[in-house]
């Protein structure tokens, strides 16, 4: 692997990893990945 390829793997891999984490945080906070809702009606 050339130095440039290694650098590309680190930068792009890191960026995709960060994007994945952000996506998971958003979905979790919306309650899409568990059954926990943030709000519901109260009787």
């Amino acid at each position: 692997m050339t130095k440039l390829q290694r650098e590309a793997a680190i930068w792009l891999g890191g960026a995709l990893g960060v994007a994945l984490v952000i996506g998971l945080i958003v979905l979790f906070s919306l309650g899409w990945l568990d059954t926990l809702a943030t709000r519901y009606s109260v009787l």
Partner: protein, 342 residues
């Protein structure tokens, strides 16, 4: 590769990486804001100030609005804390609601079909079917049940969460004549401050149709309701006798069907005990508080999914199976009334 082009490639890689991260941040924020609005709307579509009844009522024109509620007994404090995003309730259920322009959990009203009696169900969250889908509510199940018994009827659900008799009566006077029912079912339980009998009489006065009053079943996890329901039934039956209105209490029918199945709450002296009727296992015994249930019982439900009362999903609302039984029990009373209409 020349030194210049290598540097350009390096900057292109870094630029792409930064663009991916910025895109994820911006896209994630936009997605979150859009869907957070939808989620918070889920509670607001169910409750809203409605000037006619001067109380909260279902919104008109809902199409498969999703509602998420605790799937276990809960205190009001727990519910409010959770609503504010600082709660601990993880045991929840989802259901969808559609309403027509009259804020009924029913399709848009068409003209009445000749020979098909129209039954209007007015009531609180239990009648509305809090916690279950549109086709699982007791009015829907009543229509199915009567159909199975050879009665073609149209049952219309005008229940709404938190509806008190006064609000039901106001809804009835405003919208009841538009519905033009042949039979009225008045479903709910009075609270101390309610003028249950007076409000029911005002609704009947506006509609002038045969009426059945139903007292919603009391869960065993409602220790206060369990103490008063028999006397409440006796008193209302007596008060409404001169009006020719029968009052039925579904608690006995539910308790009979619950025997030997699921968890129940047993009250003795000042102690409450959660018992699994299938294994006779005693989950816990705790002192009875002045209001609601001891926190230990809420915690038991929260941490132990197999703890479940048969026919109810919380301390006041029937689950889908409960609503099916509800439909059967009510059909027993409504069938002779339909015979009298013929």
């Amino acid at each position: 590769m020349s030194r210049g082009s290598a540097r350009a490639a390096r900057w292109a890689i870094r630029g792409t990486a930064i663009a991916i991260v910025l895109g994820a941040v911006g896209g994630g924020a936009a997605f979150f804001l859009k869907h957070r609005a939808e989620l918070s709307g889920a509670s607001e579509v169910v409750t809203e100030d409605y000037e006619v009844v001067q109380n909260i009522w279902l919104k008109p024109g809902l199409v498969d609005a999703q509602v998420i509620v605790p799937d276990r007994p809960h205190s009001r404090e727990e519910a409010l804390a959770h609503r504010e995003g600082r709660g601990e309730i993880t045991r929840v259920r989802r259901f969808t609601i559609s309403t027509n322009s009259l804020r009924m959990r029913a399709p848009e009203l068409g003209p009445k079909e000749a020979g098909v009696p129209r039954i209007l169900v007015l009531g609180e969250s239990v009648a509305m079917g809090w916690g279950v889908d549109d086709d699982e509510t007791f009015p829907a199940r009543l229509e199915d049940e009567l159909d199975d018994r050879g009665y073609e009827v149209e049952v219309l659900n005008a229940g709404s969460p938190s509806a008190r008799p006064l609000a039901m009566s106001r809804w009835c006077i405003e919208n009841g004549p538009k519905v033009d029912p042949d039979l009225l079912i008045w479903n709910g339980r009075p609270m101390q401050q309610d003028d249950y009998v007076g409000d029911l009489r005002r609704c009947v006065e506006a509609l002038r149709v045969p009426t059945l009053a139903i007292l919603s079943p009391i869960s065993t996890f409602d220790p206060n309701g369990s103490v008063v329901y028999k006397e409440e039934h006796r008193k209302l039956k007596e008060q409404l006798k001169p009006d020719g209105i029968d009052v039925i209490d579904l608690t006995r029918g539910f308790r009979k069907a619950q025997r030997g199945r699921g968890e129940v709450l047993e009250a003795k002296d000042n102690l409450l005990t959660v018992v699994d009727q299938e294994s006779d296992r005693v989950w816990l015994t705790a002192e009875r508080p002045h209001f609601g249930l001891p926190q230990e019982i809420y915690d038991l439900f929260e941490t132990t999914p197999e703890v479940r009362e048969h026919l109810f999903f919380d301390e006041g609302h029937p689950d889908a199976e409960g609503h099916a039984l509800y439909g059967e029990l009510v059909a027993d009373e409504v069938a002779p009334m339909l015979d009298a209409l013929r």
